[in-house]
Symmetry: C2
Subunit: 282 residues, 2 copies
């Protein structure tokens, strides 16, 4: 008997052949499953949506983290919201300039399950610079009186459904409140193929808050359509000017990101360039 795990999404479905189930639980927030697959190694789903796989997690995490980290000026304080599998903080902590990385994750059970069953992804849990807090990231950025951050990374779920609040103007404005002047905010911003309108709306909201808002693109085979977007936001930093010396030191340890990939990610296919221009004009 073959067991498939399928995620259905906007008239598509993507499935992986499961070779072993490792974990399944209902947290107060969501259903969590972790299993082994033939094609993608170990995989985690939340509420039946693929979140991360051993095979392609670097394609997602390295693209979320390094453009922002190399675009900011020697970031010392970094805030991650979400990212329960630990891949995002692992990439942040590769940067020796980082002194403190605060990670705010709502669902402690996700972190505990990933620590046990996805140890190849979360390899930095014991880093003394890491401060993991199980709390509501929205409350935190709206109410915290802690010092602001040099970089903020949003590693949340989809802008449709329960994660929608992580794509609202008030939340983005609160994030900006927690950024130093010249800080960089980066976030995953959905598939521009299957959720084009949500992608464009996010760009529009961010453009009302930041001087420079630059979407960028890359492959994530596990995610719907396989083409994903992230967005780099700053008032002063140039998304196309990563710190060369820091990048050179970093690149040998990475699987996917390098400065060529960085620049390539910001190329806008014509149909997206036109849609962005039309969105800004309306």
């Amino acid at each position: 008997m073959t067991i498939w795990f399928d995620e259905t999404f906007e008239g598509t479905r993507f499935g992986l052949k499961v070779t072993r189930t490792l974990y399944g639980a209902q947290s107060p927030y969501q259903r969590i499953d972790i299993f082994e697959t033939e094609a993608m190694g170990r995989v985690m789903t939340l509420d039946d949506a693929f979140m991360t796989s051993e095979r392609d997690e670097a394609l997602y995490h390295e693209l979320l983290v390094h453009p922002a980290m190399l675009g900011a000026a020697s970031p010392r304080r970094v805030l991650v919201i979400g990212g329960g599998d630990g891949g995002t903080v692992r990439e942040v902590l590769r940067h020796p300039c980082v002194e403190a990385c605060v990670m705010i994750e709502l669902d402690e059970l996700v972190v505990r399950a990933c620590q046990t069953h996805l140890p190849t992804i979360g390899t930095a849990w014991d880093d003394p610079r890491l401060d993991v807090r199980f709390a509501d990231g929205i409350d935190y950025v709206k109410t915290s009186d802690e010092p602001p951050y040099d970089v903020i990374l949003l590693d949340g779920t989809d802008p449709v459904g329960p994660g929608a609040v992580l794509f609202e103007h008030d939340f983005f404005a609160a994030c900006k409140r927690m950024l130093v002047e010249g800080g960089v905010l980066a976030l995953q911003s959905e598939t521009p193929i299957l959720l084009r309108e949500a992608f464009l709306e996010t760009q529009k909201k961010l453009s009302a808050l930041f001087g420079a808002v630059a979407p960028y693109f890359g492959a994530v085979p596990l995610y719907p359509s396989g083409l994903w977007s992230w967005t780099f936001c700053s008032d002063t930093r140039d998304p196309l000017a990563p710190d060369g010396a820091r990048a050179e030191a970093l690149e040998p340890s990475l699987r996917w990101y390098n400065r060529d990939v960085h620049r390539a990610a910001f190329a806008q296919p014509s149909e997206l360039r036109r849609a962005l221009a039309a969105m800004h004009a309306r």
Copy 2:
């Protein structure tokens, strides 16, 4: 009742919700199906593998065609092998310098079905410069005494299964025989994620024949993993130097390709760069 069409591939499956079936037949060579989907418009499958969709066909066809056409010096004669849906010759014939485009497709029934049911893809069937022949492309390049071509485009199926012969050294060598000096060969060269070894083997075979062999990458949501590769081969032409004047005239009519996308496509993610270096060293 929901009808899904799924393609299974190397431990993955990708499915589309079908809203209407339009065509189904068995040709002497393969099973052909065309149907409408919610997510991707009209779609064609051959032997249950997704071949093309209205929604993302430009992402595939424009990337196969324009790097080679703009990399060659004003190509006048172009050969297309495969490409029964008509998307590849449509892109070739956008170039006003083209005087003759010969398309060799094995399966006449694919072309007839696409002419009827995918009219938005094959919009250039009536172009007087187009010469469609229903024949074996391998025989043609091995035995033809027609004049050589400025550009040859291979738009075949997968290097595993019945299409494998289109990825063999003898076939590539025969293609080179049919190229003018300084001509350009471009081909689809598979997903570097799920068929990494086939991708690398193809690079190695081509590197034994051409002075410059440059793989390039882009998103094709319909194809396994969503990340596809093509390869630019030439003895003398620089894959990163598309003709600027011709590109500028062409770009307004395209959905996806532009010179930024061209350059971006040739960026090599680190894990692929390392695999290519190891392949060349072995």
